[in-house]
C-alpha cells in the first residue's frame, strides 16, 4: 500500500504523517522538553532548601512531608484546574503543577540522601576545619548524590508523562497532539505522539543515569554503591 493512503485509511503507523507533519511533531516535542526541564529545575531549586529546612528543624519536617504527600494525592487534571484561576491559561499552570508534584519525591530523596551521609565523614570534615556551607556542598551533597539522582530520575520520568495532561489548557507538548488526535480520531497522530513521549522519558532517564555515573565516579568501583 502506498504511503499516502495510510492517512486516508487512518492507520496506526503512518510514515506519511511523520513526513508531512514533521514540523508540528518537532514543535510539540520541544515544548514538551522545555516544560519538563523548567518544572524539574524549579522543583530542584525549591526542594533543596525545603529538605535542608526539614532536616534542620524537626518541627518543619512533618508539615513539609505531609503537605507534599497531600499535593501528590491530588489528581493532575484537578491540580491544573485549580491553578487555572491563579495563572490564567498559560504554561505557568502546567509548570507549577508539575513542580508541586516533583517536590514529594525530591524532598524525600534529598533528605534520605543527606541522612545517609556517614557521621564519620561529617566529623572528619569538621575536624579539617570545614564550615557548614563547605561541609554541605563539599562533603554531604556529593555523598547524598545517589539518592538525589534516583529521586531526580523518578521525578523526570513522571514529569515527562504528566506533561501530556497539560493538553487540557493547550500546554501539553506532545499531549496536545494526543488530544487533537483524540478529537479527530487520527490514529497515527495519537500513536506517534505517545511513542515519542515514552521515548522522551526513556532518553531523559538514560541521560540522568549517565550524569549520575559521571558525578559519582567512586560508586563505579563497588557495584553495591550505585543506587
Amino acid at each position: 500500500m502506498a504511503d499516502g493512503n495510510c492517512l486516508i485509511s487512518n492507520e496506526w503507523i503512518c510514515g506519511e504523517y511523520v513526513r508531512t507533519r514533521g514540523q508540528e511533531l518537532t514543535d510539540a516535542t520541544l515544548e514538551h522538553v522545555w516544560i519538563t526541564l523548567a518544572s524539574v529545575a524549579i522543583g530542584l531549586l525549591v526542594a533543596f532548601p525545603l529538605a535542608l529546612l526539614a532536616r534542620r528543624w524537626r518541627s518543619v519536617a512533618g508539615p513539609v512531608l505531609g503537605l507534599t504527600t497531600i499535593l501528590y494525592t491530588v489528581p493532575s487534571l484537578a491540580m491544573f484546574s485549580l491553578l487555572l484561576p491563579v495563572f490564567g491559561v498559560s504554561a505557568a499552570v502546567v509548570i507549577t503543577g508539575l513542580v508541586l508534584y516533583s517536590l514529594t519525591i525530591l524532598v524525600r530523596n534529598i533528605m534520605a540522601g543527606l541522612a545517609s551521609v556517614p557521621e564519620e565523614a561529617r566529623e572528619a570534615a569538621r575536624g579539617m576545619g570545614y564550615g557548614p556551607l563547605r561541609l554541605l556542598f563539599g562533603v554531604e551533597l556529593p555523598l547524598a548524590l545517589p539518592a538525589l539522582m534516583a529521586g531526580l530520575r523518578i521525578t523526570t520520568v513522571s514529569t515527562v508523562s504528566l506533561t501530556t495532561v497539560g493538553a487540557i489548557i493547550g500546554y501539553g507538548g506532545l499531549g496536545n497532539l494526543i488530544y487533537e488526535g483524540m478529537r479527530s480520531f487520527f490514529k497515527a497522530e495519537v500513536l506517534t505522539a505517545s511513542v515519542l513521549c515514552v521515548a522522551l522519558a526513556v532518553v531523559a532517564d538514560l541521560l540522568l543515569l549517565g550524569l549520575q555515573r559521571l558525578l559519582t565516579p567512586w560508586a563505579r568501583k563497588s557495584r553495591k554503591g550505585t543506587t
Binding site: 497531600i70 501528590y72 494525592t73 493532575s76 484537578a78 485549580l82 534520605a112 534516583a150 500513536l191 515514552v198
Partner: protein, 245 residues
C-alpha cells in the same frame, strides 16, 4: 479570588448536584469505576506478587513494571484504547486503562513486602515444619501487610486520578464536571469540579490509611506502626504517592 466565590456558589447550587450530569451521579460513576477496577487489579496483581515474593524470583520484573508504569502517560493509554477496536465497547477502554495503571504499585509493594519479610522469622517457621501455603498465610502475609496496604492505597489513589482523566476521552466520573467546565469556558465550574476530585482523592487516601492501621494483623501483638516508615526506599517512589497522573 472572585473565582473562588463563584466556585463556592457553583457547589452550593442544588441543581448542580442532581440529574445525570449532577455531582451525585458523577460521584457514583467515579466510585463504581474505582471499586471495580481496584478489585480487578488486586485479584490480578496480588496473587502473582505474593507467589513471586514467596519464591523470591521476579524482582527485576516488579521493578521494571513499576518503572514502565511511570514512563507511559496515562492520558496516552486512555486515548489509544479509545481509538482501538475496544473503543466501541462502552466503559471497557477506561476499565482496562485503570486496571493497567493500578497494577504496578500493587505488584511492586506486595512483592517487596513478601520477599523482604524477616528472613529469620521465615526460616524459623520453616523449621517448625510449616508448608509453603502455611508459610504464606501465617507468616509472610501478616509481615508484608503494611506494604501490601501501601500498594493498595497507592493503586486506589491512582485509579481515582486516572478515572478523572478518563473524562477527557468521554468517560464518566467527576472529571466530566471539569471537562464540561472547560468546554463552556466556565472557570468556576472547572474549579468546583477540581475541588470535588481533589477531595475525593484525599478521602480515598485517608480511608485506606485508616484501613491499613485497623486491619494490620500484627498491630495488637507488636504495636508495629508501619514498615514503610522504618525503611524508606530511596530508589523507589515514596511510600504513599500515586505514581502518576
Amino acid at each position: 479570588m472572585d473565582v473562588v466565590a463563584k466556585a463556592w456558589t457553583w457547589l452550593a447550587t442544588g441543581s448542580h448536584w442532581a440529574g445525570p450530569d449532577g455531582v451525585w451521579h458523577r460521584l457514583g460513576q467515579h466510585l463504581f469505576l474505582t471499586f471495580v477496577c481496584l478489585a480487578i487489579s488486586c485479584a490480578v496483581a496480588l496473587p502473582i506478587a505474593v507467589a513471586l515474593g514467596h519464591i523470591g524470583k521476579g524482582g527485576a520484573l516488579a521493578v521494571n513494571i513499576s518503572n514502565a508504569g511511570r514512563a507511559v502517560p496515562t492520558f496516552a493509554v486512555l486515548v489509544l484504547l479509545l481509538l482501538s477496536p475496544l473503543g466501541t465497547h462502552g466503559q471497557w477502554p477506561t476499565i482496562i486503562a485503570l486496571v493497567l495503571f493500578a497494577i504496578p504499585p500493587l505488584l511492586t509493594n506486595a512483592y517487596v513486602g513478601v520477599s523482604e519479610a524477616d528472613r529469620e522469622v521465615v526460616e524459623a517457621a520453616r523449621g517448625m515444619g510449616m508448608t509453603g501455603g502455611q508459610l504464606i498465610r501465617r507468616v509472610e502475609l501478616p509481615l508484608a501487610f503494611p506494604l501490601i496496604m501501601t500498594g493498595v492505597r497507592t493503586a486506589a489513589v491512582q485509579v481515582v486520578a486516572t478515572a478523572t482523566l478518563a473524562a477527557l476521552p468521554g468517560g464518566g466520573g467527576l472529571g466530566r464536571i471539569i471537562t464540561a467546565g472547560f468546554r463552556l469556558t466556565d472557570t468556576p465550574q472547572v474549579v468546583a469540579g477540581a475541588v470535588l476530585v481533589a477531595a475525593l482523592a484525599l478521602v480515598v487516601e485517608g480511608v485506606f490509611v485508616t484501613l491499613g492501621l485497623v486491619l494490620d494483623p500484627m498491630r495488637r501483638r507488636t504495636g508495629r506502626r508501619s514498615t514503610a516508615a522504618r525503611r524508606p526506599p530511596t530508589d523507589q517512589a515514596p511510600a504513599s504517592p500515586a505514581l502518576t497522573t
